[in-house]
């Protein structure tokens, strides 16, 4: 099927999120939708998949105008969207979850789920695309990539011919990404259309047949692939971005700010033993690992948010084992979690209230001063929002920028979980500049990231987590993305 978007406009109040966009998506193609944060990519895809109506404009499928009322209607027209967070139920099996998304054909089927026919259909689809989905496994035992596959299978069972993916590789490992991309390629070979929203240029380069680039709500270009990274960057931002290159200094003479000595921590089934980590003034430590390999646990333990089973934690040479997070914070540690709106920011409070809460002292609040301070931060961190906006009104990327702006300027030990989550290349580079500046003026940084390039680019040393074990890479500049990828997959032994 061929999809034509004609003069799509979308207004949110005074914001013009999509400006007169006309695009054609041909059958059997993988098309990348590129653009920086707030460029209007997700909005356009939500319109196409029925989650939001367009203000004006027409969608044609195979030349016929369609008008749909919601996601189900879009699916009925063959257009389905893969959500960033899979919509499944953890306590049920793959097969049961598959049945939830399946339309009952007869009255009897409505009453009694026909397990055997559902299983047959599930197996048929998984075999066709080479998925590895055991129908009897519980969702909670699957990786995110497998759960994405299940989502895709559910959409395919409903005869979806055009699949939209919005940042599908957020939070998944290299291997899982490869699995997903192989799937998408084989689907395209079968004549399906794939629309990939992403701001990871490497992914778009390796996967897509063509790209459409949005900037500030407008379509600024379309291009057949192949294209180079710098060509794409130029289309996205209208300028060439210098590739970040971090100069590494000798830090061995610098004082140790934070130290974990013989630490054992555990959470659920994961136990990490014998963690030794010294973080020096000015140093950046990147934590690499697959999801759930212990990076989060280690960072929380270092911040005083998770109690240690054994070992000691030192901050500026003082033993702070067992200290509360508040004490750690007073002494110059700050932690930011990846789930910014669940854990980090407070929905219902304005930007100014966030600033007032984290800055300043004294019993009374100087609202005027706090507002001025907020405006300054908004400008410095390039946030799209106003001081009086509630934080949840901002887009994810802007929330992330606000969260980063709340990290105290003083020399501190910054412990940041996925600090650039949801940010495009340009904003991420801007925030990295600020973090590097802080490290140069005496702070230290521990961060995790699913993006191996980011870890290799910025870290002085890399701590690799794998199944509860940690290995330090002392010279990441001598390492390639691929080598690091093997390490996080558990290949220390072979290397040493």
């Amino acid at each position: 099927m061929q999809i034509d978007l004609q003069n799509i406009n979308k207004h949110f109040g005074s914001v013009h999120a999509n400006k007169d966009i006309s695009l054609t998506f041909e059958e059997g193609k993988i098309i990348g939708i590129l653009g920086e944060n707030g460029a209007g990519k997700s909005t356009l895809m939500k319109i196409l998949s029925g989650y939001q109506p367009a203000t004006t404009g027409t969608i044609l499928i195979d030349g016929n105008p369609v008008d749909y009322s919601g996601p189900l209607a879009a699916i009925a027209h063959g257009i389905g969207m893969l959500q960033q967070d899979p919509l499944d139920v953890g306590a049920f099996t793959v097969l049961e979850n598959f049945i939830f998304g399946r339309e009952a054909k007869t009255f009897v089927e409505r009453l009694f789920d026909d397990l055997s026919s559902a299983k047959k259909q599930l197996n048929e689809i998984t075999n066709r695309f080479g998925f590895q989905l055991d129908p009897e496994l519980l969702i909670s035992e699957l990786s995110i990539a497998q759960r994405q596959q299940l989502e895709i299978v559910r959409l395919l069972a409903q005869n979806v011919r055009t699949l939209i993916l919005d940042e599908p590789t957020t939070g998944i490992s290299t291997d899982q990404k490869k699995l997903l991309f192989d799937t998408l390629r084989s689907m395209a070979t079968e004549g399906m259309t794939i629309l990939l929203v992403s701001h990871k240029l490497e992914e778009v380069i390796s996967l897509c047949d063509e790209v459409a680039v949005l900037r500030a709500g407008e379509l600024v270009g379309q291009k057949e692939m192949p294209a180079t990274k710098s060509e794409l960057v130029q289309m996205m931002f209208g300028e060439d971005l210098p590739v970040a290159e971090r100069e590494r200094k000798d830090l061995s003479k610098e004082p140790v700010l934070l130290e974990m000595r013989d630490v054992t921590v555990s959470e659920g089934r994961l136990t990490m033993q014998n963690i030794h980590l010294q973080v020096r003034r000015g140093e950046i430590i990147g934590l690499a690992g697959l999801d759930g390999s212990g990076q989060e646990l280690l960072m929380r333990a270092a911040a005083g948010l998770h109690s240690l089973d054994a070992g000691n934690l030192f901050l500026y040479d003082a033993n702070v084992t067992g200290a509360s997070y508040h004490t750690m914070m007073k002494r110059g540690v700050v932690f930011c979690a990846a789930g910014r709106i669940e854990e980090g920011l407070i929905a219902g409070l304005t930007l100014t209230e966030h600033v007032a809460l984290t800055e300043g002292a004294g019993m009374f609040i100087d609202w005027q001063g706090a507002k001025k301070e907020t405006s300054a931060k908004i400008a410095a961190y390039n946030v799209r929002g106003r001081p009086d906006d509630n934080i949840e009104q901002l887009s994810g990327g802007n929330q992330q920028r606000v969260l980063m702006s709340l990290v105290p300027e003083l020399p501190t030990v910054m412990i940041l979980e996925q600090p650039m989550r949801g940010l495009d290349v340009d904003s991420a580079a801007g925030i990295w500049d600020k973090l590097l500046e802080r490290c140069d003026s005496g702070s230290a940084l521990i961060f995790s990231s699913p993006d191996l390039d980011e870890i290799l680019t910025y870290s002085d040393r890399v701590l690799v987590c794998y199944a509860g074990e940690t290995t330090m890479v002392d010279d990441p500049s001598a390492m390639t993305n691929n080598q690091l990828g093997h390490l996080i997959g558990g290949e220390f032994k072979r290397k040493s």
Binding site: I346, G348, A356, M363, W367, L394, S395
Partner: protein, 358 residues
């Protein structure tokens, strides 16, 4: 806020009141009564003369005090069901001062009110300690402590504080007059000091919530305790102080019941004022400014309902059934809550903004 928004807000506030009056009128007619007679009785009993006003105010004072305390705990995200027990403890502590202290009247008043705050505050703090140290949810802890507070009162009345002539467990001996709250006049028997204290408490709560760091911390903890912790708020301490201060203000409500109303300690001295205050705070959606006014309306309705019962005994054909006030209250609450929801939806739809994308 634009003029149009304001008009919509106003209408959406008015509709539930009109609807519940109409529905109750329908019921009265159905039961063979006369709605006009019922409503005029209600109106008169609340606003007819000074003594009617005084009754309303004497109900309004403890109700609003308890509500002011609850605004603090609700803002911190705590369901302080224990407010009833905090009122009772305030009453018990104030009663001890009234019964056993021999001080000049002004000093005695200050000491008694402070004792009431201490009692209510400690009882509130206990809810907090149970929650933060032992993981007992504040609702369960509060319910238990309510029962315990009432039992302590009954024990004191029937035991150590029994009247010398022997008790029927109905009340302690009357307090010495020096401890009574002075009344403005015999026509308007309302304690001006307590009226002032109440108004001051409401203003104080508004000020604390809007102008102080502690108030902002309460709000942060109430909306997302996990995030508040990561932003540097000592969440446990915030919960404890909110419960303690909220309980202290509720304790003042208890002191008004014993020092101004009964002039002795009685069982069930609060009589459900705490629960009614919970209702009011929920009704006004935690907005400090509206709370005293909503409290006034409910206080008037309650005062009126007593009068209506009398009327029903004399002329049953007019009223139909004296439980109608209960029906009216219930309907009012349901309707207001419903229209709060309607209003929220209305304004969240019309103010939908760009959430942008990633």
């Amino acid at each position: 806020m634009t003029g149009r928004d304001f008009a919509i807000r106003f209408i959406l506030t008015l509709i539930p009141i009109v609807l519940s009056i109409l529905a109750t009128s329908g019921l009265i007619v159905l039961l063979g009564g006369e709605p006009v007679a019922v409503y005029s009785t209600l109106w008169e009993s609340a606003f007819q003369d000074q003594s009617a006003y005084a009754k309303v105010f004497n109900f309004w004072i403890p109700l609003t005090l308890a509500g002011a305390g609850l605004l603090l705990t609700f803002t911190a995200g705590l369901w302080n069901i224990g407010v009833e027990g905090q009122i009772v403890m305030g009453a018990i502590f104030a009663s001890w001062g009234a019964l056993f202290l021999d001080l000049p009247p002004v000093v005695l008043l200050i000491v008694n009110l402070s004792l009431a705050m201490l009692g209510g505050g400690l009882w509130g703090l206990l809810v907090g300690v149970l929650k933060t140290r032992l993981g007992v949810h504040e609702i369960f802890g509060g319910v238990a402590l309510n029962a315990i507070a009432n039992n302590i009162a009954i024990y004191l009345i029937a035991g150590p504080w029994e009247p010398p002539e022997g008790g029927s467990a109905q009340s302690t001996p009357p307090f010495p007059e020096a401890s009574w709250l002075s009344e403005y006049s015999s026509d308007f028997p309302v304690s001006i000091i307590m009226l002032a204290v109440t108004i001051f408490a409401v203003i104080l709560v508004w000020f604390l919530l809007n102008q102080t760091r502690w108030g902002l911390e309460l709000k942060a903890v109430g909306k997302n305790a996990r995030s508040a912790l990561l932003l540097g708020v000592r969440t446990e301490r915030v919960s404890l102080t909110a419960l303690a201060l909220g309980g202290a203000i509720a304790g003042l409500a208890g002191s008004h019941r014993v020092l101004g109303f009964y002039h002795s300690l009685r069982p069930l001295v609060s009589g459900g004022i705490g629960f009614l205050a919970l209702l009011i705070v929920l009704l006004v959606g935690f907005r400090v400014i509206l709370m005293p006014f909503a409290g006034f309306i409910l206080a008037a309705l309650f005062t009126g309902s007593t009068r209506l019962q009398t009327l029903q005994r004399i002329r049953p054909e007019l009223v139909g059934d004296s439980s109608l006030v209960g029906v009216l209250q219930g309907l009012l609450v349901l309707m207001i809550l419903y229209f709060n929801g309607v209003r929220e939806r209305w304004f969240s739809n019309s103010s939908e903004r760009a959430t942008g994308d990633e």
